[in-house]
Symmetry: C2
Subunit: 473 residues, 2 copies
């Protein structure tokens, strides 16, 4: 990798390097070995580019894009490099534009419950700034420490609160974006109601940097509840988990903050590794559900969880439940859901899928897919977990990525993605398209929609300066 | 009007009429006197067109658009004709495409909390269907009986719940749209998480029918709370109303459903006309605030409103409050806010404005605008009311529309819209652009954004078949 980078550095012309020097100084353009020394994030392929530029202002981003366009060089924007579908991979001859230095601005407007931040600010940094005012961004991800707000906008990030607060698209009030021609699109409204013409910021949300580079974001915040309470339910079926979710949404005291389902093979893995157990809680239920409430008073929230348990028990007498009675116990329950690293340690680069299934079809979907996967390979026993209140399932195969031959990989996709778009779901719930899922998008998208996507990309970035080879190819 | 329509009917060629006959039958194309007999809605200018077509399926809509495109005829789509900014006005030579017969489908998916409806279904019809499952669309408007879901999508409707559930854009999960070339864009997902390529449905939401005609909508529903409680607060200032709103958002029991502010000249009008009064409630407060909570138990919600009053009283000892103790009393309080017809009866076609102001600037905005309006005309005493939790203010001048000379109208706009976009607000919060607000959009929009809007309109509808003269001209 280092050798390759050193070689192709020569591809960047002296004229282009001179431009970059004028704009950000060559000290802010990493080349050769300096690239190899950067943290590549999820995959080394992220840093395949000849150079990595670190602008520190919107104007610098605009100037770099103008110069790249003029010199026929394409740009791969990168935030926290936490994406899972190859949306940030780069090749020799390209330059990476990192938003790492676009992190100076974190303005909190407490009365408005709005934050305005630069794209390179991490979710964790925003959470910390907001929490000083008892506010939170209404979106949370395990990769909060490295995921940037710009990246989360560009991938339309989801997470555990989407059933209540929506996905990133629903959190964004305003955007500043540098377009492929270097002009600056400035629409930094801080209000939710704005019916002043086409709302074009939505073109850039979820476009993975192919239509523009997000530089600044106005984002809606929500009040942090004074207290939370969390329970784990052991349930006989998906239907029971959906009913528990419904009861959580209709809570008489407090508001539901999370409904995370853990099917039993993944539960066995995390509970086993962390030696978690609780009196009277059998680890053998088909579905385990973490239900969290937020509200004014911890005790009353715990009582409300008890009430939900009792109501659920009337319909499903076999169920079991444990309520966390301390922050430490709450964290232990969450670890059973969030420690997905355990899978990848056991099965490096395990093939993972991220689908949205309309809630009324989840049961049927799983009942169809598991035997079909086993008919591809009897050893398949996928880990299954997800955000059940919005139908977002994560499915990870219990094999190493290197061990899955292409034919089987294609067969797995065809099982998991079959009819999903037609039935109102999505084959990519929150991970995006990147470079890895383009073929699936082509196969499943409405042809009229796909043609319109292509038309818009051509109209806005005919020269394919921004993130070529991603989303639509 | 009748005479004019009769004359220009001849403009529709025999070939085009033959097409329409083939597609929907001429009985579903109203011409001449039959047009004049239709209900024109907010303004007679809505029915200036030569003919009004009533398709009953998406395929019919597509076929009509294809034929209109081939014959160089432009189409004005119409839903409930309740728009306030001339987004549906039509002219001789054009045809109106009414969605009135696209109202057969109202599918409710109770487990998913999703509805799929045709564009011509009214909000009230959707509310009725959803309420059978204890669900609601999360959006409500006084014009619910005539406003259609298609029209609400096309204008990105707002209303009283936007601070909590977002505007129409945030409610829509999927769309089916007929494009200007007659092709059918089908993206009827029923899940909130979908990161499968550009989310192009947002192009059509709020585009007022200039980029496509919405034919079907998948919309998110929310649980209806078991009980509600409503209070009216009399407050000394905007700051107190914002603090009450904050306390409502942080309610320890229940969830805030509405925070509607009524400034005193409008309050005097509605309270006076409806002879509303309550013991110990002085009608002379600068700002009156309706605060509604929803939750499990009415008594506890009323106690929570009492708690909010007490907490507010500590900071603002002069305040007053009344809590509704019956549905009838609740309705009486709401009438004080919703009976805006009283204004228009007193001042026909009174000039009305609809701005979004970032919450931290509302006080300052009003303090600046009122004296500036009075310096234009000392008789100006505008009616002021709005959705204070999201900064959406409605401002209606106390003059008849016919009495406001153009110079003064321009001066009023320049006072009300000055710096609004730059400071993070919007000069059109929820009414849209239509034909009346195009000049303001041109004056206030980011030029890069406006250029991109124009580029997209040209790319998608170069022949300007759909709703010409609206939004971008």
């Amino acid at each position: 990798m280092i050798k390759q980078n050193t070689d192709v550095t020569r591809d960047l012309s002296a004229a282009f390097l001179n431009d970059i020097d004028q704009i950000i100084g060559l000290s802010n353009l990493k080349q050769g070995d300096a690239v190899a020394n950067l943290d590549y994030g999820v995959t080394a392929a992220n840093l395949g580019a000849t150079a990595v530029a670190f602008p520190s202002s919107t104007q610098d981003v605009a100037a770099i894009i103008k110069s790249a366009f003029a010199h026929g060089i394409s740009i791969v924007p990168q935030g926290g490099r936490t994406g899972l579908v190859g949306g940030s991979i780069s090749m020799p001859g390209q330059i990476v534009l990192s938003t790492a230095r676009l992190n100076g601005t974190v303005e909190i407007y407490p009365i408005e419950r709005v934050a305005v931040v630069e794209a390179g600010v991490t979710l964790q940094a925003l959470q910390a700034a907001a929490s000083e005012h008892h506010l939170e961004p209404g979106i949370d991800l395990p990769s909060r420490g490295s995921a940037t707000i710009g990246g989360m906008v560009s991938t339309n990030a989801g997470g555990i609160s989407a059933f209540r607060y929506g996905v990133m698209r629903h959190r964004v009030l305003g955007l500043e974006v540098v377009l492929p021609d270097g002009s600056i699109f400035s629409d930094l409204t801080r209000v939710v109601k704005n019916a002043a013409g086409y709302d074009l910021k939505h073109l850039f949300i979820g476009a993975e940097g192919t239509l523009g580079i997000v530089t600044k974001v106005a984002i809606k915040l929500e009040p942090v509840p004074a207290a939370t309470a969390t329970a784990l339910f052991g349930l006989p079926c998906v239907e029971a988990a959906l009913e528990a979710t419904r009861l959580g949404l209709n809570a008489q005291y407090g508001q539901m903050r999370a409904a995370e389902a853990i099917w039993n093979s993944f539960f066995a893995l995390t509970a086993g590794e962390h030696r978690w157990s609780a009196t009277d809680y059998s680890p053998d239920y088909p579905v385990n559900l973490i239900l969290s409430l937020g509200g004014g008073n911890e005790e009353q929230l715990q009582m409300e969880l008890g009430r939900i348990y009792e109501e659920l028990y009337e319909t499903y007498p076999g169920i079991s439940a444990v309520v966390a009675t301390s922050r430490a116990q709450e964290a232990e329950l969450w670890r059973l859901r969030e420690d997905t690293d355990l899978i990848y340690r056991r099965h490096p680069a395990a093939p993972s899928f991220d689908v949205s299934v309309p809630l009324s079809q989840i049961d049927e979907y799983i009942a169809r897919c598991i035997p079909e996967l086993r008919s591809i390979d009897p050893a398949f026993d996928p880990y299954l977990f997800g955000h059940i209140a919005d139908g977002n399932l994560h499915i990870v195969l219990n094999v190493s990525g290197a061990d899955l031959i292409p034919d089987k990989a294609a067969a797995v996709e065809s099982v998991l993605y079959r009819d999903l778009t037609q039935s109102g779901g999505s084959f990519s719930a929150e991970h995006g398209i990147g470079s890895k899922r383009i073929h699936s998008l082509r196969e499943t998208a409405d042809p009229v929609k796909f043609a319109l996507m292509t038309q818009i990309k051509s109209a806005m970035d005919g020269a394919r300066t921004l993130n070529p080879g991603k989303v639509i190819g």
